[in-house]
């Protein structure tokens, strides 16, 4: 539990999100605001799910014992539902705000729905990752030996990778979700909800990290590919981007308009 563990895990978990923030969001004030509002929505959803869990806990009344574990599982599943509900609510809010912005401000500086999908997903993801991991991180600075009672010694590393995958997944889910709402493809929403449930449910088998992490990453890659195509990417644009022939890509885009 050294500084190396702290910094390593912190950068594993939050490095990509920080990079995304610095390069794409920090430059535009409006995007920062929407990011923070997204984080706020996730926070409210967490509050509601904690309330539900708390009420369920007080109703059953059993302080220790197996019911606590079932209550926790119930709490996790309810939380996933509530998070997706709030994602939908944020979508509705953004739709209204976008129309309002367009009415008043007719120029092109109003962000598009796709951009807002990305920003909101990232907001959800960052808040979710931070809330899951920051306490663990701050504990890693203190004294202690990981796994001294027979638990896995890879506790921090696993948590860091899991946090990373959750942040990325939230971002992709945001893009796919909003795209599904825009195009009225309701199956997209269902898939997002189901994959979210799946990823959360897989964490129940911790500390068998192998299956859990690997499947989460596979789901992340799949969602990433879907999000890429939902956001308007294509194989051709990817090739052009990788071969640094962006100008052609831009011209191509203009022509197709």
């Amino acid at each position: 539990m050294t500084a190396a563990v702290f910094f390593g895990c912190a950068f594993i978990a939050f490095g990509p999100a920080l990079a995304l923030y610095i390069f794409t969001i920090a430059t535009e004030p409006l995007r920062v605001i929407f990011l923070i509002i997204g984080a706020f929505f996730w926070l409210v959803s967490l509050l509601l799910s904690s309330l539900v869990w708390f009420i369920a806990g007080t109703i059953t009344g059993d302080k220790d014992g197996p019911t606590q574990k079932y209550l926790l599982i119930f709490g996790v599943l309810v939380s996933v539902f509530i998070q997706e509900m709030f994602r939908f609510a944020y979508y509705k809010l953004l739709k209204k705000a976008n129309e309002g912005l367009k009415n008043i401000n007719a120029d092109e500086t109003a962000p598009s729905m796709r951009l807002l999908a990305y920003v909101s997903g990232l907001g959800f993801g960052i808040m979710s990752g931070v809330f899951s991991f920051v306490n663990t991180l701050s504990d890693s600075l203190g004294p202690g030996t990981v796994g001294i009672h027979g638990d896995s010694p890879q506790f921090f590393l696993n948590s860091a990778f899991m946090t990373l995958v959750i942040i990325m997944l939230h971002m992709f889910w945001g893009i796919v979700f909003f795209d599904g709402c825009e195009k009225k493809k309701w199956y997209a929403l269902l898939v997002v909800l189901l994959t979210h449930l799946l990823v959360s449910a897989l964490t129940f088998i911790n500390p068998h990290y192998g299956i859990n992490l690997v499947s989460a990453y596979i789901i992340m890659v799949l969602m990433g590919i879907w999000a890429f195509f939902a956001a308007g990417g294509s194989c051709r644009s990817l090739k052009l981007c990788l071969l640094c022939q962006d100008k052609d890509f831009l011209l191509f885009n203009q022509r197709s308009r």
Partner: protein
């Protein structure tokens, strides 16, 4: 008490752009250590979003006006919105910085979380065995504190009304002197103690002297804008740390709630002291109390030959020295002072300048936001989730307040919405979310 001030409506062409509300924040007097009393001040945060003005459309006499005569209303609104997001971020950054400084200090320097006596403004102790007695004591403490704030605000308004500028000036200089020298010295001492760094007195004297002297110059006279902003953030953080240390637990929360209510009343009621202050300043066409306002002003000049550096300097310097100091009790939540960057007296310049005024937020707002977040970080079991939740809640409250400001275009209090959100999220996160997240984290479940 924080008030947001929006730019005046178009018809008030020659008025002061926005009125500032002076808010008094209580100056803590620690009876134990016999520190000089700090002045009370109300924090008035005035936020003024100003539209850019096109010079060629403006009558030179109206350059100080907020509205642009002759400009269609839609364009005005559009400009407000275009600059709205940027202004929000210009406020997010300093508020975040202040909170970061406070939270970092609270989490590392143990001095500010140790209980070491109370201010004379909160005489009732909270070390009572029964819950009811403790609650009663905290309510009484709050009543005393708020009445002190009210009295100081009214005193300040009276002083301002009867033009006792020298008195106010001296008062503000005294308080910022104490803040910049004494509190900085104590802070530095505690930080050095925490990190076990030895420092000899001559070095310490040199450092504190330089820091304090430059601070006085920057805040009360002229200085680079960034430096002035940095100093204002630092003194807000120091003030907030003093509050966090010396306010007992429950009293702090009740005081936060009560001061939001007071801010609301003082700014919006017709007979509220802050509102009267603003109106007086507007009548006299003077800027109100430039010193205790955090200003993020910027000036653009549009391709004109005549670039007046002094008018640019005017943006950065705290206005008339006597005017500044009047509200410059560091305790006072900033007087949202909105002053026209071009001084009246340079009528020619405005024609050539396209200005974008920045937003101004009262220092008291900074202080009370930081008190809330700092208390969230100090209490509780080393939980970062609560701190982060309060932080996000305050930012969202600030966002909403700025939105309301853009809609209503008049002075609005900055404390109520943010503090309400902050309090709600503090208590709910501490009691509901924390056990949930802790249980999840211990089983490594992810939601």
């Amino acid at each position: 008490m924080l008030t947001f001030m929006a730019s005046d409506s178009e018809e008030e062409v020659c008025d002061e752009r926005t009125s500032l509300m002076s808010a008094e924040s209580p100056t803590p007097r620690s009876c134990q250590e016999g520190r000089p009393g700090l002045e009370d001040g109300e924090s008035a945060a005035q936020w003024r979003s100003q539209d850019g003005e096109e010079d060629h459309e403006e009558d030179p006499d109206h350059y100080v006006c907020s509205g642009v005569p002759g400009r269609p209303a839609g364009l005005e609104e559009e400009l407000t919105l275009k600059y709205g997001a940027k202004h929000v971020i210009m406020l997010f950054v300093p508020v975040t910085l202040c909170m970061i400084v406070v939270v970092a200090t609270i989490k590392s320097v143990r001095f500010y979380t140790e209980k070491n006596g109370q201010l004379i403004y909160t005489p009732f102790t909270e070390d009572t065995p029964s819950v009811g007695q403790r609650l009663l004591n905290s309510v009484l403490n709050t009543l005393i504190m708020i009445s002190v704030i009210v009295v100081m605000t009214i005193f300040l308004v009276l002083l301002y009304k009867y033009r006792c500028y020298k008195f106010i000036h001296g008062w503000l200089i005294m308080s910022s002197l104490m803040l910049l020298f004494l509190f900085t010295y104590i802070y530095l001492g505690e930080v050095l103690k925490t990190y076990n760094v030895a420092m000899d007195y001559p070095t310490l004297l040199l450092m504190v002297w330089n820091f304090g002297a430059v601070g006085m110059v920057c805040i009360h006279w002229k200085g680079p804008l960034v430096l002035q902003q940095a100093y204002l953030i630092m003194i807000s953080a120091l003030m907030a740390l003093v509050f966090i240390k010396y306010l007992p637990e429950w009293s702090a929360w009740v005081i936060l709630g009560a001061i939001s209510v007071y801010d609301l009343v003082a700014v919006l009621c017709p007979k509220g002291p802050l509102r009267m202050l603003v109106e007086t300043a507007q009548e006299r066409n003077e800027p109100i109390f430039p010193a205790l306002i955090y200003s993020s002003a910027m000036v653009w000049t549009v391709g004109m030959a005549k670039l007046d550096p002094s008018s640019q300097g005017a943006l950065q310097l705290p206005y008339d020295p006597e005017m500044e100091d009047s509200c410059d009790s560091f305790g006072e939540p900033s007087y949202p002072e909105v002053f026209e960057p071009p001084l009246p007296g340079y009528p020619g310049e405005e024609l050539e300048e396209e200005e974008e005024r920045g937003v101004k937020l009262g220092l008291g707002d900074f202080i009370f936001y930081s008190v809330l977040v700092g208390k969230a970080a100090a209490t509780g079991s080393g939980d970062w989730n609560t701190t982060l939740a309060c932080f996000v809640a305050i930012l969202i409250g600030l966002c909403l307040t700025l939105l309301l400001l853009a809609v209503f275009k008049k002075a609005l209090p900055a404390l109520p919405i943010s503090i309400t959100f902050g309090l709600i999220f503090y208590f709910s996160t501490d009691n509901l979310v924390r056990p949930f997240m802790d249980t999840l984290a211990s089983h490594q479940l992810y939601i």
